[in-house]
Amino acid sequence: MVAEGIPELVYYLGFITVNTLALVVILILLVSPRDKKPTPVKRAPFESGQIAVGRGRTRFIIQYYPYLLMFVVYDVVAMFLFAWAVNLRTLGAAGTIPVLVFVSVLLVPLGYALHLANRPENW
């Protein structure tokens, strides 16, 4: 009833998830030693020796935000390109003109994003 091949994939993923989770749980509960009274230093975040100062999840500049945005757009472009690439032989030239326009029009925001990303004073 479901598409061919999907039940085996779900069976395989379920099999691996169950085994890995069981392994980790057994290791955590039984195998790995437990320290009753962990000293505060032992559980402090590891900063190659220094005392961790300030928030763990530090603030960061978003200079690469245009790249992330372009990733979302070109994911969508790849979705349509995959659909076009499947039966290219029967589509011929008539089918490729929309895709050509689609890809070439979407090169414009790529240029703008690259222009913005290379000038960090904007972020």
Binding site: R57, L69, V73, M79, P98, Y112
Partner: protein, 163 residues
């Protein structure tokens, strides 16, 4: 009556959606949203739309949820999560939700026509690609203009002019 696979996937979707709205921490909410989209991709697979399910996973969970996670990490945890809802709005919302469910339930039971077992040309990949490019070619081109407008808008919104 309904096969167990559908029940499991639908339960995952709905619980993921509820968790996404109610989770106390925004990153938990974004992860629950990702799981709910995974459930919806599973429902697409049950409806023999495997191409759309594959790209729902990679576009939605691989890009949109990651963008949301990025914004939550940039913006979210700066301030503690204040208790947000106040009673009056949630009462109104509960009424709205129950009204929708009521209509939905009646509509659902009314047109309970079962689907056709074999969907020959209805979900064939080659026909999907042909209809997409032959019948919807111009819509594809117009979509590219919408995408360009959205991206350039989002970029100019998010950047600051260090004037």
């Amino acid at each position: 009556m309904t096969d167990p696979a559908f029940l499991v996937v639908a339960a995952v979707t709905i619980i993921g959606a509820i968790m996404a709205i109610e989770a106390r921490d925004l990153v938990y909410g974004a992860a629950a949203l990702g799981i709910s989209f995974l459930g919806i991709a599973g429902l697409f697979i049950l409806l023999d739309a495997t191409y759309v399910a594959a790209f729902q996973i990679s576009v939605y969970i691989g890009a949109v949820v990651v963008l949301i996670l990025f914004t939550v990490m940039l913006v979210g945890p700066a301030k503690g999560e204040a208790p947000m809802e106040h009673k009056r709005a949630s009462l109104f919302a509960a009424v709205l939700v129950s009204m929708f469910l009521g209509i939905g339930g009646s509509l659902a039971s009314a047109n309970a026509f079962p689907g056709v077992e074999v969907c020959g040309s209805g979900c064939d990949l080659q026909i999907l690609s042909q209809t997409l490019l032959n019948n919807y070619g111009t819509q594809l081109e117009l979509l590219s203009f919408v995408l360009v407008a959205a991206v350039i808008g989002a970029l100019t919104l998010a950047k600051t002019e260090k004037a």
